[in-house]
């Protein structure tokens, strides 16, 4: 390796550290003994983890986050898979326009989407309700499911479906026994991705919250705005832990980079 190669490598390492360092800093900071957040941490203790259990708002928010994320992912997967199947399989006129429409919620800033939904939901009595919250999250999850399932369908061999039909299977059986098993990895990664998108969301959620619909990122956000407290570090570490588990699964099935459009060659 020549000098330029070494320089390039060193600069790349700096860049990667820059991306990862905020996450790396959070975990040790959660074990601090001090009553204020600091990095490097002072001493070692588990007190900020046991303190989570004394704060019911964090537990409730965590349960809310889980429920909303599961439901949002489920609905986004149902809507998205049906839509992606229709686009991939049938010669619908205006296909590419429909695809861009289905992924359009990605191009509208989440702040603007949140405002639009809040203003629209208020006269409909949906503002601050669980249903309103869920709808807003389904919208932000749909584009990812569409993308992932469409990618999964791109190499799909429709002759298999035809073979099934010729052998006498009805369309329903063909779907359950042939189509679904073949695109299952794409659907699972779409679902996991939708789950994380909903689980992590702050911006849209901020316009949808009410005392009953507070989620974990919202709770972290407001704790950070009021007073910086080491409990944010321990709660954040729990969030990182959950995310890492799902990232490992996603990477195994699909490849995390591909989800964001980074193509392996």
């Amino acid at each position: 390796m020549n000098a330029i190669g070494k320089l390039r490598g060193a600069l790349a390492v700096i860049g990667i550290i820059y991306i990862l360092i905020p996450l790396i800093a959070v975990i040790p900071a959660s074990f601090t003994k001090a009553s204020y957040p600091s990095f490097p941490p002072e001493g070692f203790s588990f007190q900020w983890y046991t303190k989570i259990l004394e704060r019911p708002e964090f537990i409730d928010a965590f349960m809310n986050s889980l429920q909303f994320a599961v439901l949002a992912a489920l609905f986004a997967v149902i809507f998205g898979t049906l839509g992606a199947l229709a686009i991939a399989k049938y010669d619908i006129p205006g296909k590419s326009a429909i695809t861009s429409f289905l992924t359009a919620p990605l191009s509208v800033p989440q702040l603007v989407l949140g405002i639009a939904l809040l203003i629209y939901f208020t006269p409909l009595m949906l503002a601050g309700t669980s249903i309103g919250f869920l709808i807003s999250h389904i919208i932000i999850c749909i584009p990812y499911v569409i993308r992932l399932v469409l990618t999964g369908l791109s190499g799909f061999d429709y002759n298999l479906e035809k073979a099934g039909a010729i052998l006498g299977a009805n369309p329903w059986t063909v779907f359950w026994k042939i189509t679904l098993p073949l695109i299952r990895p794409a659907i699972i990664s779409g679902g996991l991705f939708a789950f994380l998108t909903s689980f992590d969301n702050v911006t849209v959620s901020l316009f949808m919250i009410s005392p009953e619909t507070r989620t974990l990122p919202i709770e972290i956000f407001s704790t950070m705005q009021d007073a910086y407290n080491p409990i944010v570090a321990s709660v954040s570490s729990v969030v990182i832990f959950i995310s890492v588990i799902l990232i490992v699964i996603l990477e195994k099935i699909h490849g995390v980079g591909k989800v964001f459009g980074g193509g392996h060659h």
């Binding site: 820059y18 991306i19 996450l23 619908i92 989407l113 989800v259 980074g262």
Partner: protein, 313 residues
Amino acid sequence: MEAARAQNHQKRVAPEGQPPQQEKRAKKRKPWAPGLLLLTPILLFLFGFFVVPMLYILYLSFISTDSLSGEGASYSLSNYITLFTDSYYLNSLWITVKISLLSSLVALILGYPIALTMAKASAKMRALITLLIASPLLVSIVVRNFGWYLLLLPNGTVNTLLMDLGLISKPMNLLFSEVGVIIGLSNAYLPFMVLAIVTSLYNIDPSLEKASAILGASPLRNFLSITLPLSLPGIVSGCVLVFSLSMSAYVTPALMGGANVPVMPVVVYDQINNLLQWTFGSALSYVLLGTTLLSVFLFTRGFEKSKFKEVFR
């Protein structure tokens, strides 16, 4: 006329017995009615909860009202006029554009070497780097912001490091400042920059570099004459992406800048959630949306028209 033509058509199609041409055509073109049925739920959902709300606030942005109850409402451009004549909002727009430009620049400087290393690395290494840089995108932004909060504290790692290096004599105010917001935003969106650049680097024909090396070009000359110009499309799309995401980011400026850095999203949030100025807030939202789209358009177009035109296909 129309009716006659339709009839004529029917007549031509109608005769039974020998419809081979017609049937062949029908077989070739798959029926798409079932597809439309599958699309109906998602189209209805997005129409009802995405298109209509977006159009509704566009409509509201043209209504001016003095009271919260909406009495004395009338159609006018006054929301937009206030926005573009009041120095507070113009200043906020300027800060937003400035911070977004600087965040794109930081992301480009830090991201390019990563992308270049990925392009030269083995497939295994590429996959590892992709995983390392893309994974943080799946961790909530509040968590990443809290990490920076810890690092940027007056007695935090960054200040300590800068003082140890002798670059500063006393801790800088990195938190609740424009610098803090730029660090937060460039960190959050750097992965997108890398992925955009690396895609264009993968597309460069490796024989070009080999050829120029054989012809005696130095590695630096090689980089400046081949790699850099051919990766420009990736640089442009990466910058446009980071810029537009930064323009509309709310959480990072709110946490890393607070009231000291009143970027547009923070101002809009305040108008809607705290002051309940819905019609004015709607206008602000559309100005934010419009500015983002316009800057993206101008930026892309400016590059397309420049001397690098040949690399855009």
